[in-house]
């Protein structure tokens, strides 16, 4: 029986794709659309660093082919940005001024690089690596550059640092205790990390903060810390964690804190709108608060749950208990649902 349902998913990452494919498996007739502002098919974000280092090429990033979408009649709207949501008319307004109507909406817009408020004046001098769009042109720049400055230090940041030092690049790291947001690294943790990074030959600065970044006329930057360390760098990277990418959803009536607030069934505060993956802030009954999640497996599970619940089922994401994981030899407590270790080689 034909149906006029149109399920729209904002986001083309693991959560969004899990939702879309789950929906299609369980509803062969509905129209399904994935909207993503990125111009690339579903790809493996964790591999971006390898891609930047020139270790893998673009094809190796691909998770799914266009054909898999065609076969399943899942429509991809790539390179299109959602400007805002109008839940009353159940429509989305895209940045290019097109309106898309939905019957049900799943927001899986993921996360974006966190720009520290103190860094706002230097935003133009900083390079972020969170999505494929950021990497165009960067690969060649990295290959051509020799001196790097990394500010912060999150999971990806350390991975990137090792990649650069492996390439024989000169790297200075300014360890920022709040980089692993929302956690704060203690003095002991920082010392342990500095010790553990020693074999990389990177200059690691701790107990310090960024003061100024001054671009040079002929390219490159002078970076000065509060303690007065001056370093020259061709590129300055910021790795200070991710924040949910939900600006487009603000002001439409959805309850939003850092991320879009959802219950364990991935339902938002508004009817027929779900959120999942790293854009969502999920209620955790164990600690009686809303927490965000990162990582591929979490996103996949949440996407699947959102998809099934949209179709009327009632699944919950189950916390897998409190977990610890390893940040350069430092154990950090987390409240996430899945084991992040799986993610490492994804």
């Amino acid at each position: 029986m034909p149906t006029h349902d149109h399920y729209v998913i904002i986001g083309n990452g693991p959560a969004g794709n899990a939702a879309a494919f789950t929906l299609r498996e369980n509803d062969p007739d509905a129209a399904i659309t994935i909207i993503s502002h990125e111009n690339i098919c579903f790809y493996a974000k964790p591999k971006l660093v390898k891609y930047l280092a020139g270790k893998v090429d673009e094809d190796a990033l691909a998770v799914k082919t266009m054909d898999e979408y065609r076969r399943r009649h899942i429509r991809l709207r790539l390179g299109q940005t959602v400007a805002h949501i109008d839940p009353d008319s159940r429509s989305l307004h895209l940045a290019h001024m097109e309106t898309v109507h939905y019957t049900d909406l799943i927001i899986a817009s993921g996360a974006k690089a966190r720009l520290l408020p103190s860094m706002k004046p230097y935003a133009d001098c900083l390079t972020f690596v969170t999505e494929f769009n950021d990497t165009t042109g960067l690969r060649k720049k990295i290959a051509d550059s020799s001196r790097f400055f990394i500010f912060g230090g999150d999971l990806v940041g350390f991975k990137f640092l090792k990649m650069l030092t492996d390439m024989g690049k000169q790297v200075t790291l300014l360890l920022y205790p709040r980089a692993f947001w929302p956690h704060r690294l203690t003095k002991e943790m920082q010392d342990a990390i500095v010790k553990n990074l020693a074999p990389t030959n990177a200059d690691v600065l701790a107990d310090d903060d960024l003061d100024t970044i001054v671009p040079e006329d002929r390219g490159g930057y002078w970076v000065t810390t509060k303690q007065g360390v001056r370093t020259q760098a061709d590129l300055v990277f910021s790795f200070n964690g991710l924040i949910p990418d939900v600006d487009f959803a603000r002001g439409c009536g959805l309850d939003i804190d850092h991320g879009i607030l959802v219950d364990e069934t991935m339902r938002t505060s508004l009817d027929r709108i779900f959120a999942c993956g790293s854009c969502a802030q999920i209620y955790n009954p164990d600690i009686n608060t809303y927490t965000t999640s990162i990582g591929w497996p979490n996103a996949q599970v949440q996407g699947k749950v959102a998809g099934l619940n949209l179709l009327g089922e009632h699944h919950k994401v189950r916390p897998a208990g409190r977990k610890y994981f390893d940040l350069e030899g430092v154990k950090i407590k987390t409240a996430w649902w899945e084991d992040l270790e799986k993610d490492e080689d994804a």
Binding site: G79, Q80, M97
Partner: protein, 594 residues
């Protein structure tokens, strides 16, 4: 990232409404690329489908290597108008680049934006064209320039050189016009540089164009077929042009109306095409070089006069720029369906010369040759252009001016001939010495009736036979002065021989080369001279080809029928009438199937 010049071979299409500056943007892009030292081939299309009413497309192929065909699909589509661009998406390559207005003047309903309709593989860049144009110049007119600015930023083109190309284009306009165009361009450039994350691989950074600028600005002509025909005609001492407006030949008349008087010639706009060819024949009878240009419907009207030119042996040159047919057909689409009309059209045994230029450059050669042959052989010469050749723009080397002997070809009678002057004297060559009015003692009567050697009506069987034979003899001798057929690819026995004509020939030769890279052994044959046709050469060529393919832009293969009769064996055909020019990709595909 593309870093070697060999890699630059892209097709850019700009699509918009008439009046949105689509065509001028394409023109500036072409001129810029040419000034950068690249080969260009560009054309403007005005598709006639109802949905695309008012739609126009500026198509430009840019390459570091010689270009033989326009390229089938676009690498880049710049959408100035979403509505029109949607119907142009089918001409965009899979994985191609779409640049569109991200803040159009009016919001789109669902699925009515071009980006919504684009394939998922498409790399799309939204640029607020209208908004930036408004910002730069206070109105939306400069959207085309904003788009060019975006293109320049995206592909790492030379911003300052591009700015100069824009200034050149609007050089004669008021300063405010120049400024608003340049400002719009820069606005688009800056915005894109700032806001667009490049996700495609096209880049002109570090590309060394094949020619240095100094070399080519002096010597290259950026010109289309119609312009080149007009230029050639002036260089070949044309003194009279009569015409009636008809797409796609009108431009020739418009150019000549400006230029002919400067060269001591006369342009006559007539009441119809009958009158145009009539006047040309009158002028030709008067002893000056005369020409007319038209398209299918006008050529049909001229048919009776074409017979008179042949019968009365009066020089006349007709340019038929083919468009979709029959009847009024599709005036703005290219086709090669007037082959039969040009080579065989009309009544009676009527041998006429037919030349079909194969590319822009050969439009010049064909025109010079046509005026020469018409004068020397006292006959009708038809030049078969088509919409694509007429309008596609190339950057070419400045053609060599015709040699003096090409400009004065009439064989006049000597004193002995004038004694008892026989205007239609039976000769071995078939050419009878011709007087022009004003020559004492050379008076004669020209007629469309069959006649004797003096020109007096004569209906005897012997007379008719002798005169017909003379006209055919004359026609056959034209072959001695025909340019040699172009033969490409392997010189040995090959699997596939591609025999082509007119504007499809470039694509055919290119296809032979491309197919060779893919392991298909092939050779190409084309002849500018269609009538008389180099039959010996085509037979020899066919003799070393296991299979023959004849690609052409008509429904069933008019030229294929013609060649089949000569080589006496069946041929494979590739025909389409979609209105777009033949692309080498089409032919390679067909060769693979064979």
């Amino acid at each position: 990232m593309k870093t070697s010049d060999k890699d630059i071979n892209i097709v850019i299409e700009i699509c918009g409404s008439a009046g949105e500056g689509t065509i001028s943007a394409g023109e500036i892009l072409s001129r810029f690329m040419s000034a950068q030292g690249f080969e260009i081939m560009s054309f403007d299309a005005y598709p006639a489908e109802i949905r695309g009413f008012g739609k126009c497309v500026a198509h430009t192929r840019v390459s570091a290597n010689p270009i033989y065909s326009p390229g089938k699909l676009a690498d880049v589509l710049i959408a100035l108008n979403d509505n029109h661009a949607i119907s142009q998406l089918s001409a965009l390559k899979k994985g191609g680049i779409l640049i569109y207005d991200s803040q159009p003047p009016k919001p789109h309903e669902e699925d009515e934006s071009v980006v919504a309709q684009a394939d998922a593989e498409t790399i799309s860049y939204g640029v607020p064209l209208t908004m930036l144009a408004q910002k730069a110049a206070g109105n939306a007119r400069g959207r085309n320039m904003v788009a060019l600015g975006a293109l320049t930023a995206l592909f790492h083109l030379d911003r300052d050189a591009f700015t100069n190309s824009i200034k050149d284009r609007y050089g004669k306009k008021k300063q405010i016009v120049i400024d608003s165009n340049v400002n719009s361009f820069l606005e688009g450039f800056d915005w894109t540089k700032e806001n667009i994350d490049k996700a495609d691989a096209i880049s002109f950074q570090g590309v060394t164009p094949p020619q240095t600028k100094a070399e080519q600005t002096e010597e290259k002509l950026i010109i289309n077929g119609n312009q080149l025909v007009a230029k050639a005609a002036l260089d070949a001492d044309l003194k009279f042009y009569a015409g009636y407006p008809i797409t796609p030949a009108t431009k020739i008349m418009e150019i000549l109306s400006k230029e002919l008087p400067k060269h001591g010639g006369t342009l006559l706009q007539t009441e119809d095409e009958i009158s145009a060819i009539g006047a040309v024949i009158g002028a030709g009878y008067g002893g000056i070089r005369a020409m007319t240009g038209t398209s299918g419907p006008g050529f049909a009207l001229m048919t009776e006069f074409t017979g008179l030119s042949v019968m009365a042996e009066v020089p006349a040159v007709i340019i038929d720029s083919q468009r979709g047919g029959p009847s009024t057909g599709i005036p703005t689409k290219t086709e090669q369906s007037d082959f039969n009309a040009a080579v065989f059209g009309g009544t009676g045994d009527c041998p006429r010369v037919v030349l079909a230029p194969t590319d822009t450059t050969s439009c010049y050669d064909a025109t010079v040759l046509a005026l020469y042959l018409a004068e020397k052989y006292q006959t009708l010469v038809v030049i078969l252009l088509d919409f694509f050749l007429s309008n596609s723009i190339r950057n070419i080397d400045v053609p060599q001016k015709p040699a003096p002997e090409m400009l004065n070809a009439n064989i006049a009678p000597d004193a002995a001939d004038l004694a008892g002057y026989q205007r239609y004297k039976i000769t071995d060559s078939g050419i009878s010495p011709r007087t022009i009015p004003g020559t004492p003692g050379g008076m004669f009567f020209a007629t469309g009736l069959e006649h004797d050697a003096y020109g007096r009506p004569n209906y005897t069987d012997k007379g008719h036979l002798a005169m017909t034979a003379k006209r055919f003899r004359k026609h056959a001798n034209v072959l001695n002065e025909a340019p040699a057929p172009v033969i490409s690819g392997s010189q040995k026995t090959v699997d596939i021989g591609v025999i082509s004509w007119g504007s499809s020939a470039g694509a055919a030769h290119e296809a032979v080369m491309t197919a060779a890279e893919k392991g298909i052994s092939g050779a190409g044959f084309s002849s500018m001279m269609l009538s008389p046709f180099p039959e010996k050469q085509v037979k020899a060529f066919a003799g070393r080809c296991k299979k023959i393919l004849i690609p052409e832009l008509n429904y069933r293969g008019q030229f294929a029928d013609f060649v089949t009769r000569i080589i006496n064996r069946p041929v494979e055909r590739l025909n389409f009438i979609t209105g777009r020019p033949m692309a080498s990709e089409d032919i390679v595909e067909k060769m693979k199937e064979m």
